[in-house]
């Protein structure tokens, strides 16, 4: 119990919530990307669900949101309990490595003993208790030393859209769920993904990371010295009123690079904790379809009323006060939101991104 309280005292959480994304258009919009949407009609957005999920582990005062300045208002609205000082507004979009590096400096200045759980804001996790166990175990592991830990998810299909982590040797005196990482592989082709699945050694890269603040800063010094150099220059300003002035000037100079590429694939102290969290990155309409409950015609109803005749394998998404009547659709997305309606084959959803660009060009910003 004392140990728990102590852990909470030093445990910080960084939720990365600055992403844009047009793949869920018309639900996600440029001013309201996926993480801010109440995807499942539960009354809580994906960001709010991520926050709620961390509350048993980290106090609101120790939950840091890194985002784009465009989303300040919506974050204040959705997470009023998070102190304003905990909302770090990136002045430019630079992928995850600069975000992680800034947040680590910020937190390290507040608490040199801090442990940081870094999370995406827009994923689905169905097994919450398991998540808490995994994170608690991971915190214990990284607190004990100079270790970078990533969460690897048990794959359920040979998905070609995810990165894969191959686990390596067991660690003496450590729970079997945490092992050394042997390799990272970005989006394999289908043949390779099938092999990955068969071996049982490969896990999906969840984008969830745990480390001590000092450990990740040390890793930046060693493996991403240019990024480290830019943020080291702010020493003394982090956690002070001068922090944002420094960041506004320095942050745009950082290269756009992912934390996986900058650190995880290079460092020799990288570990993976494997888990089965009922996870989806909800990266596509197909992912949403796959993880949603289906009726006997394999249709999915997302937060609306539906009367479907002769429809199969179709995903209907609208608002709770809307009725959708459809006949004869097979394998479709029907997504109605605000001033836009999308009726598109699920098998061609990769085209939605270019559709959104076409709409922007032909009909204007207000539709995207």
């Amino acid at each position: 119990m004392d140990n728990d309280i102590d852990r909470k005292r030093h445990c910080y959480c960084v939720i990365m919530c600055g992403g844009v994304g047009s793949r869920f258009w018309p639900f996600s919009r440029s001013g309201r990307p996926k993480q801010f949407l109440d995807f499942f009609g539960t009354g809580r957005s994906l960001l709010q669900l991520t926050y709620d999920r961390m509350l048993p582990i980290a106090d609101p005062e120790r939950i840091i949101l890194v985002t784009n300045s465009a989303y300040y208002d919506i974050i204040r609205e959705q997470l009023p309990d998070v102190p304003v000082a905990n909302i770090l507004l990136e002045p430019a979009r630079r992928n995850t490595a600069p975000c992680v590096c800034w947040a680590a400096h910020h937190i390290h200045a507040l608490d040199p003993e801090a442990t940081i759980v870094t999370l995406p804001s827009d994923h689905l996790i169905l097994r919450e208790a398991e998540f808490h166990d995994v994170i608690s175990r991971g915190i214990d592991f990284v607190e004990a030393g100079d270790r970078l830990l990533t969460i690897g998810l048990k794959p359920t299909s040979p998905h070609t859209g995810y990165g894969y982590i191959q686990r390596g040797e067991r660690i003496p005196d450590v729970d079997g769920e945490i092992m050394k990482v042997k390799s990272f592989t970005e989006k394999p082709d289908l043949e390779m993904a099938k092999v990955f699945l068969e071996t049982g050694e490969f896990f999906w890269n969840s984008g969830m990371f745990l480390w001590r603040a000092d450990a990740i800063l040390r890793a930046f010094e060693r493996y991403a010295p240019e990024t480290a150099c830019i943020f080291d220059a702010g020493a003394g300003s982090y956690g002070t009123p001068g922090e944002m002035d420094f960041i506004d000037a320095a942050f745009p100079n950082a290269s756009s690079i992912s934390i996986d590429y900058a650190i995880m694939e290079k460092a020799d102290n990288v570990y993976v904790e494997t888990a089965d969290l009922g996870w989806s990155d909800l990266g596509t309409w197909n992912a949403l379809y796959d993880c949603s409950p289906k009726n006997q015609d394999r249709n999915v109803t997302q937060n609306c009323k539906v009367l479907a005749h002769n429809c199969e394998g179709t995903l209907f998404a609208s608002g709770p006060d809307k009725i959708v009547v459809a006949c004869g659709l097979n394998g479709y997305i029907v997504a109605d939101s605000g001033n836009a309606l999308l009726i598109y084959p699920l098998s061609e959803e990769q085209k939605v991104r270019q559709v959104v660009n076409e709409i922007k060009a032909r009909f204007g910003e207000e539709f995207v």
Copy 2:
């Protein structure tokens, strides 16, 4: 010119606008049926277009609207220039014969020399100048005597949803467009409709009628004595403050019967004026599709923005501020309005009526 002014003095128009209709759901709703909708995004509803079309012929003071009391507010909103006293509110739904009989009594009380043009409120007429010629010629014809005139439209296809009027002998000294009626046929089968079309003798029954007030009242006495009896009892009250009290008590006692069946199919003084008005009764989504301009993929865009990939023969209807993106739809209705969205094959649109009933039962009144 003098003749024109005189005609306008005695010419009344009755616009029947009490109909309900679920066939255009979700655009038409129980509280807002088809005649009140701005179908073509022109800024004017079908009722307003009907009214506008009659203005060169009848003063607003002589345009009478017969409707259901539920639609009083919307009529006041859409046609503010029509005096309140000209809105006749039926206390019950009784088809067209009681409506016509009441309106004739009402107008006859105001002007015993009145000529009445009776019109549906929810049809499309593209050739407005021709309409004015046809109505003017018809007024001249019925003013001259005890004649019941119906407008017969040149058929463009062997439509099985319309009534057909067979024209008979020419009338000495009368323009060739007006002839005696030989027969009425309700909705023929396709074989018969094809024969009708080939002979050139058959015309679609438009539901537009012209007669003197005294002539139609005389016809009621002869051919529909029960209806006549009910309304004759109100003599003395028509055009007075006591009219509505009488109507509220008497009208519900009238049988529900159409003017065609009650009078036109029986009377021996029935004439047809044939015309080509670019007419559609807009009775179905298919009728709307047929009469609308199409793009190279035979798609119809009704009052909204559309991005269609691999769609053919599909009708898109929504609001002017909405974008619809669709892919792979062939021969569909996509109709989005308020709290409902319909995606249905045009070839199965006759099922929409039962869909609406199902929605009402399962989801409630607010969706129909």
